[in-house]
């Protein structure tokens, strides 16, 4: 489940703090985002990478820095796409059931 991925990604106080900062609006660079997190820069980078893997944030190179952008659009699109395919499969499997359980055929 996508929701599970989101919760998993957010199920860490540091990552949650990163997302909270990003939701305030202004774009952050990795360096700015890593400030005052109470962990090493390396550690912060790792946590940001987890958020990237979950498609919660995107990284955008800007000059010598990298910007971190909250990416809710990707999540929504992916969720809609998957939900649609799921309902299609639901229908197809029911069609398969109707066909194979039908005693008048075969």
């Amino acid at each position: 489940m996508i929701e599970a991925d989101i919760y998993k990604a957010l199920g860490d106080p540091i990552r949650l703090e990163i997302i909270k900062r990003l939701t305030r609006g202004s774009p952050y660079t990795i360096t700015e985002l890593s400030d005052n997190l109470g962990i090493s820069r390396q550690g912060a980078r790792k946590q940001i990478q987890v958020l990237v893997s979950s498609n919660l944030v995107q990284l955008k190179p800007q000059g010598r820095e990298t910007q971190v952008i909250l990416d809710t659009a990707t999540l929504q699109i992916a969720r809609k796409f998957i939900a649609k395919l799921e309902s299609q499969w639901e229908l197809r499997l029911h069609a398969l059931k109707r066909l194979t359980e039908d005693k008048t055929q075969n």
């Binding site: 991925d5 990707t74 992916a78 649609k84 197809r92 398969l96 109707r98 066909l99 194979t100 039908d102």
Partner: protein, 147 residues
């Protein structure tokens, strides 16, 4: 993002009958694509036809009579005809498990969504996609035909 779709259904039929309905080209067109072109065999690429909604190439990946059948395709309404293995695709797997006499659990798994580019998923919505409506129409036909 979510990489896998999984759906299960209990069907009161033999595993042979269910398997045939999935793997036999003459039966699969009764519930899934409307038409089928080419060899519906492991290692071959077949084209599923969905009437006016287009055609989609399908690469048959594996078939183990009465319990497993799988293929690769490009999901969604971005109907792709060509070499499926040359583009981002998903693996569709059907597993049939016999629970009791004349009763099976069919598990459908589609995986590989993580490989699909975002633009692709976006396009799938912008296009007036007919997959859903098509299935409803097909189901309707089926019910009417069996009344």
């Amino acid at each position: 993002m979510q990489d896998v779709i999984q759906r299960e259904i209990i069907i009161h039929a033999t595993k042979e009958r269910i398997y045939d309905s999935i793997a036999n080209p003459e039966l699969v067109v009764l519930w899934f694509p409307e038409t089928l072109e080419g060899d519906y065999m492991v290692g071959e690429q077949t084209i599923f036809g969905f009437g006016e909604h287009g055609k989609t190439s399908v690469y048959i990946a594996d078939a183990k009579p009465y319990e497993y059948f799988s293929y690769r395709w490009v999901p969604g309404s971005q109907h792709f005809v060509g070499d499926v293995l040359s583009v981002a695709n998903t693996l569709v797997e059907f597993r049939i498990e016999e629970l009791a006499d004349n009763c099976c659990k069919v598990t459908l798994t589609e995986s590989g969504f993580n490989h699909l580019p975002r633009e692709f998923m976006e396009a799938s919505f912008q296009q007036n996609s007919g997959g859903w409506e098509f299935m409803i129409a097909r189901l309707g036909d089926y019910f009417t035909a069996n009344k």
